[in-house]
């Protein structure tokens, strides 16, 4: 018994393209880079203190507010009524915000400060 492949599409003349069943599939950047759109935000970085980890002035960051920040993550923090992007470090019960540049400095979070973690940075979009 010989099996014959049946093609669903109409054939005007010649053979149908074997690539046809793969047409329509493409890479969707939104889906790949923003898997949780409801809680993800795009923000623009201003300044140079995070260049050592690849965040340059003017870059767009994808921030996911549904992720729980772990020590070592790059985060957007709300500190004294301003948004900052820094590396988050936890040491015992102390929180630190570290910058990543030549003049590296860190901020220790104290009780007097108004501080909260806004979201975790997942991607940097850098225009060349």
């Amino acid at each position: 018994m010989q099996s014959i492949i049946f093609f669903e599409s109409t054939v005007s003349c010649g053979f149908p393209s074997p690539a046809e069943e793969f047409s329509g599939i493409s890479i969707n950047l939104n889906k790949e880079l923003i898997p949780r759109p409801a809680s993800s935000f795009l923000v623009r970085a201003k300044g140079r203190s995070m260049e050592n980890c690849g965040i340059y002035d003017g870059d767009v960051l994808i921030v996911d507010r549904s992720l729980e920040a772990k020590s070592g993550n790059i985060i957007v923090a709300e500190l004294d009524r301003e948004f900052l992007v820094k590396r988050f470090k936890k040491s015992g019960r102390d929180f630190f915000l570290m910058s990543e540049s030549e003049n590296s400095f860190s901020i220790k979070i104290t009780d007097e400060m108004s501080f909260s973690i806004w979201g975790v940075v997942t991607y940097v979009i850098h225009k060349l």
Binding site: V43, A45, K46, S99
Partner: protein, 441 residues
Amino acid sequence: MGSCYLCHTQTLEKLRFMFALVDCNNFFCSCEKALDPSLKNLPVIVLSNNDGCVVSRSDEARALGISMGIPLFKIKDLVKMHNVQVFSSNFELYGDLSKRVSALLKQYVEVEIYSIDESFLNFSNIEINKREELAKAIRKKILDCLGIPVSIGIASTKTLAKVANHYVKRSERAGFNFKGVFDFDKSNKQEEVLKSEKIGDVWGVGRANLKKLMSLGITNAFLLKEYGDVWASKGSIVEKRLIRELRGESCLRVNSLSKPRKTAVYSRTFGKSIDSKEDIRSAISTFTIRALTKVRKENLLVGAVSIYLRTDKYKRVEQRYLSATKKLNVPTNLTNELVFESLRLLDEIWETNFLFRKASVVLWQLTRPSALQIDLLDQRNRNKESKLNLSIDLIKNSMGEKAIFYGVQAHFYQDKIWKPRSSSRSPRYTTRWNELLTVRT
């Protein structure tokens, strides 16, 4: 699922409905605060279209005595004295955040979006002891992911869920900590809660009913529930349903089949007065097109068109309230035809040398295509035009409202003469690439 007389009480219990009404607190102000940390603890107000009146107030602004709907000019001194932050409406931002709230809610249970800041959740399948826990988890999720605080009222009917929601909001404002959630169904203070709900705040009691009920001595939800039968018997199904809902009998399901719309209106006040007929023509044609998109969305046809034009009622000049209506021979949804009719109506009512301030287009006598009556005198090639309109809709949907438009609208889009004032609108942080939030490194 057939009904069975021999069902156990347990099974009957499972047939009960349970609703959770999720309502964003001071929604527009909360949106502004969520994306601008410098506003923390400051009094914030958001103004209506054209910066006329207050449509949203933050808790701090409310505490200063700023009432809902008050015109800005009346509180100018208060604003200056207390550093109240004033914003024009930023609908793109509010719409986007509202969509996100809905998306998060849908991760938990079935959701019925009621308005831009309220949704009913179907809690019917949630165990009685887990309801409050789930509501608190939902509240925390929305706060953590979006920065928007919400209040949640849980009850066996939508009307009671609203009462529960009002109760938790009122109580928290008075200083009690409910963590934003109140389960009315589980509460043993139901009578107290109903008594604290003023009759005017009960969902479904309009201004006309309010007067009647007050005169009957029914001043709160509890009294309406107990003694509302006489009033309801004189009313329509709406009043009867309201009483039943207050008594715990659910008459309005989640996502109950909504009736098709009866009219589609697009009405706007201009940013400044216009006396040029060319400009008004642009406005009327654009308004007609925008009203028509609502009709097309529900796949309906228009049977009659009305246009309204009025002068600035706040200026001491001779006033004009102009209107005209045309009943169409054949119900249609064709843009060309409707724009043509609207502009012809404008020709009919037009008077020169008047400063017009507001225009409205109303498309009514909406019917489903199957009820179409064919006029033997109808000459148009509707099929061809319909296809053209579909293409235009597709282009507008994928590339934006302004990607393609009719010649007569050109004036409207280029000069923006009618554009509402929005002098202090915050950036459209979440919908415009060029207006993103800035974070300092």
